[in-house]
Symmetry: C2
Subunit: 575 residues, 2 copies
């Protein structure tokens, strides 16, 4: 995108301002340090008309966007003003090369940030692309602590597509129960499932169908209770950076009457392809180009619908507003976009497979792997609690974060037994309700040889109800991986690798494993640190659906004192 900036003929004061603005916008040669001072606190807000306490950053949810340039250093001074709850923020998609303690994953890379305290995150944004940030402490992401990170390419490096305007839009599902009510229900022996969300949000705005009986907390005339409006100028092309941070739902995004060209996925350029609608799973980001090429005398719906689970939540709606139509003018169409069939797995599999690396930006994977680990994803009952497991091991955090425990050789703080690298491939029927009598809770982790190549196979199964299999988006911290393939049924470790795409696989940090299917990934264990890899469905990770990888921890520099203070690492240190 060529930046061009014209200062119109304005009075001298405005002209100076404009020239100053053009200086800011002009590409800078040097990497910059960008400092943000943020305060996280609970505030009453009504994102979908229903008033509840949500976590804001500087008064907003979604929080302020981080807009940076490749190579910049980001400093976020985060004050926790939550009164009773701790907090931590993960910088989703940022690999934290050289700064593994800034990954913001409570229990893995840091102790939680206590109420009243200010914690400083400092990291480099080394690649252009679309990233996210969100709470990574218990289920706090559900409370509204999330936002966008947009990294522009370095001075001089072009992108393989052009557009006129750039917009970030985060999709979400929304619950009226608080995060701690949800977490408590999931952690109880009287298991209470979170249920389907009350509404869907587009860039923090949605609409719950308020009834008169809850008029005290639900006010549809509240100014907060209005749809997100994306105003476009006819003939212009828009880069929409679409991200999902849903708690539970997979979504399908579409703009009535407009095609979209997919050009970026999780910070990697995609060989462009055109779609009518986009399937997007929690933790994923996409850039799509949309040209405002339809009848400009009206507005259009932008819509999100629940897929992969039977929808019980109304379509989430925004207004795709052609200037100069009034932004509140509703589209004339009587029915809103309904999205594809929620249970059309083939359709989703097809779109997943269509995402490939752009031919000019194709960083090919190593042709072979050093290690293959198969992760069977199962729902279990352990000691009377409903849990999710990986190879029959359900994850829980130790009290001392792994990064500190490993760096300081505190081997007693977590389970040292290596977790299983596969499952009973011969006998396990992925289409049956699991028995899994031997599932256990464990804090054990996978230790990877530094610089080795690792293949991960995500293997989906039947859940504890008959004929049910959920879709799980898995997110890897600290790395991107190549997506080597998706398949149906049980992965065959002898046959299926022969069909891997080793030519132009996309790199991503989050990928779905489809119903009763498998997904194969490859990554280089080349980032010294300790990294979570987990289902990005908030309740699933809370219920144990995750693992932790360690690689090259001996190469990690001195840990900052600020990440300490929990478990075994409380004490007095004179600065």
């Amino acid at each position: 995108m060529g930046v061009h900036f014209e200062c119109p003929k304005f009075p001298i004061g405005l002209l100076v301002l404009c020239l100053f603005a053009s200086l800011i916008i002009a590409p800078s040669v040097e990497a910059r340090i960008r400092t943000y001072n943020w305060e996280a606190k609970y505030e009453y807000k009504s994102p979908d008309c229903y008033k509840k306490l949500i976590i804001t950053i500087n008064g907003k949810s979604p929080g302020p966007s981080i807009l940076a340039r490749q190579g910049d250093t980001i400093i976020v001074n985060l004050k926790n003003s939550l009164l009773m709850e701790n907090v931590a923020i993960h910088w989703h998609g940022i690999r934290q090369i050289g700064t593994p303690w800034s990954d913001g994953t409570e229990g893995v890379t840091q102790c939680p940030i206590l109420p009243g305290e200010t914690f400083t995150y400092k990291f480099d944004v080394d690649r252009p692309g679309t990233y996210l940030y969100h709470a990574h402490y218990s289920m706090q992401r559900d409370a509204g602590l999330y936002g966008s990170i947009r990294v522009s390419p370095n001075n001089g490096s072009a992108e393989p597509f052009t557009y006129d305007y750039d917009r970030s839009i985060i999709l979400n599902d929304w619950y009226h129960k608080s995060a701690y009510e949800q977490a408590t229900g999931l952690s109880s022996q009287n298991f209470e499932w979170v249920g389907e969300p009350e509404s869907l949000l587009i860039q923090g705005k949605g609409r719950f169908n308020c009834s008169p009986s809850n008029a005290d907390v639900c006010n549809s005339t509240n100014p907060e209770c209005s749809p997100y409006v994306l105003t476009v100028v006819s003939g212009k092309t828009y880069r929409l950076r679409i991200a999902s941070l849903t708690s539970l739902s997979a979504l399908n995004f579409e703009i009535e009457g407009h095609n979209m060209t997919v050009v970026e996925a999780d910070g990697h350029y995609v060989e462009p392809f055109v779609i009518k609608n986009l399937n997007i799973y929690s933790g994923e980001t996409y850039s799509v180009l949309v040209r405002a090429d339809q009848d400009p005398s009206r507005n259009y719906w932008a819509a999100i619908n629940v897929i992969t689970r039977k929808p019980e939540t109304p379509t989430g709606l925004a207004i795709f507003n052609y200037y100069p139509n009034h932004p509140r003018k509703l589209p004339p169409t009587t029915s809103v976009p309904a999205g594809p069939l929620w249970n059309d797995t083939d359709y989703r599999l097809e779109q997943s497979r269509a995402i490939k690396a752009h031919h000019d930006y194709n960083d090919r994977p190593p042709p072979t792997t050093d290690r293959m680990i198969i992760f069977l994803n199962t729902q279990n009952t352990i000691d009377g609690y409903r849990r999710w497991s990986v190879n029959n091991v359900s994850f829980f955090f130790p009290h001392t974060p792994y990064l500190i425990a490993l760096k300081e050789n505190l081997t007693h703080v977590f389970d040292q037994t290596p977790p299983p690298t596969g499952y009973n491939f011969t006998n396990y029927d992925i289409y049956s309700v699991p028995e899994n009598h031997n599932a256990t809770n464990s804090s054990s982790i996978y230790r990877l040889q530094f610089n080795s190549t690792v293949d991960i196979i995500l293997q989906n199964t039947n859940m504890m109800n008959r004929d049910s299999s959920d879709t799980h988006p898995w997110h890897l911290h600290g790395h991107d991986f190549w997506v080597l393939g998706y398949g149906k049924g049980k992965f065959d470790p002898f046959k299926d690798p022969k069909n891997y795409n080793l030519v132009d696989p996309i790199m991503k940090n989050t990928v779905p494993v489809h119903r009763y299917g498998w997904t194969a990934l490859r990554f280089k264990a080349d980032n010294p640190g300790v990294w979570a890899f987990h289902c990005h469905i908030e309740s699933h990770f809370h219920m144990g659906m995750g693992v932790v990888f360690e690689e090259g921890v001996e190469k990690v520099g001195e840990l900052p004192q600020s990440i300490m203070g929990c478990g075994e690492i409380k004490g007095f240190h004179r600065p």
Copy 2:
């Protein structure tokens, strides 16, 4: 009380059990270590029929009672299973001699206990009497974390009264909003007052008037939704240990048709006096003797009513059940006890003044003081926030607890300017709405000379609304004080001390200052440590109505690592 225990003629197994039980009950010569393993977690409960998440200990609220003997050592291993919230427990009335780090006051004597962690409290119970425990972190006490401590006299030391049975009853007021919703409302610039409680609880049980419209959360047929029953045998005498842990309300307790004899207050024996009903303020404990001397063919109401604030909460009711009447048989009286007039300050003042030390247990105060500090209690607006202040200083906690900061000489972590020891006595009109333009927030503390005698005058005033003055129960940690006098209007430091009761003042740890009145206290600063002194109304302390005293901190032994982990004291210590 003479313990007598008879083993009936039962089969041999039960006989052995009974003999074993009698061994447990028989006075032991040696002090014992009593160890409790507790887990604090959120659970859905319906204490007043309305279902909400409350904090339980081992599944209960009120939590398990601590029953001990004078001289015993109590060890509580407290596991925080709250998922997102920290916790700390204060042992209310226990002076923590030699163990100031076990006082459980987050921000003063310890860092908070993080989710997943287990913290060990260890302290001696050096005096017989009726004490309490409760959360001392943000407003978590409101969430239901509280219970009783009952300490019997040492082997050989008799009490100055006799009774047949001993019962602990905690009174409380109850809100349907969560503690974090309440705290957030109070801490917001859009100030939201907590309002009057929805119901009153007697030993954790009450009744909210459920309407059909909230049938999903309010179920009056829920077995939890039943009144507390105190079963008595005609002719027997009951020691009722009545304690209040209300968030806001002062209460009046009575048992229909039965007089009560007050014999203990906050662990000190009282010169007995007879009352028809008991005024009790949050943080106070009393023992009253009640003889079951009325018509035994029926049951009677035990009732609590709100006083000092205009009641908007229905009377809290329990059943005083004469055996063998059915415990659910309602008393025949059509109207429940209504208590005294809520605004009869003279009546309450009179009862406060009637509480004097028992003539055989009268530990007289020093006849003079080394220092007098007057605490003017005012409501203020500071930087747009509604606060409470003491001498125009509104208290807030530093990030590093005072005990650690003082012991480790971290003078930069809190305000070192000594706070004011009085107010503008000549010009301040306690009957007017305060102006107090100069009120400030501060973390400064009062440093007391070790072993000195200190007088504190609590001076009440008008609040920010005209013609309004609240009653504040102030609680002192780490000490008991002599209550030298109560007065109306403005305390006169030259005249009023002449009328102090220096002959037989009661010692207490919590005392009210009545509307537009004053209360004078004296204590010896002889307990090395750092101690909070604050209004026991949860929202008032949250809004800054408290101070901190330091004395002899240089005599405090080595601090345990377990209290660290926040503020400046995070770090790695190899055990």
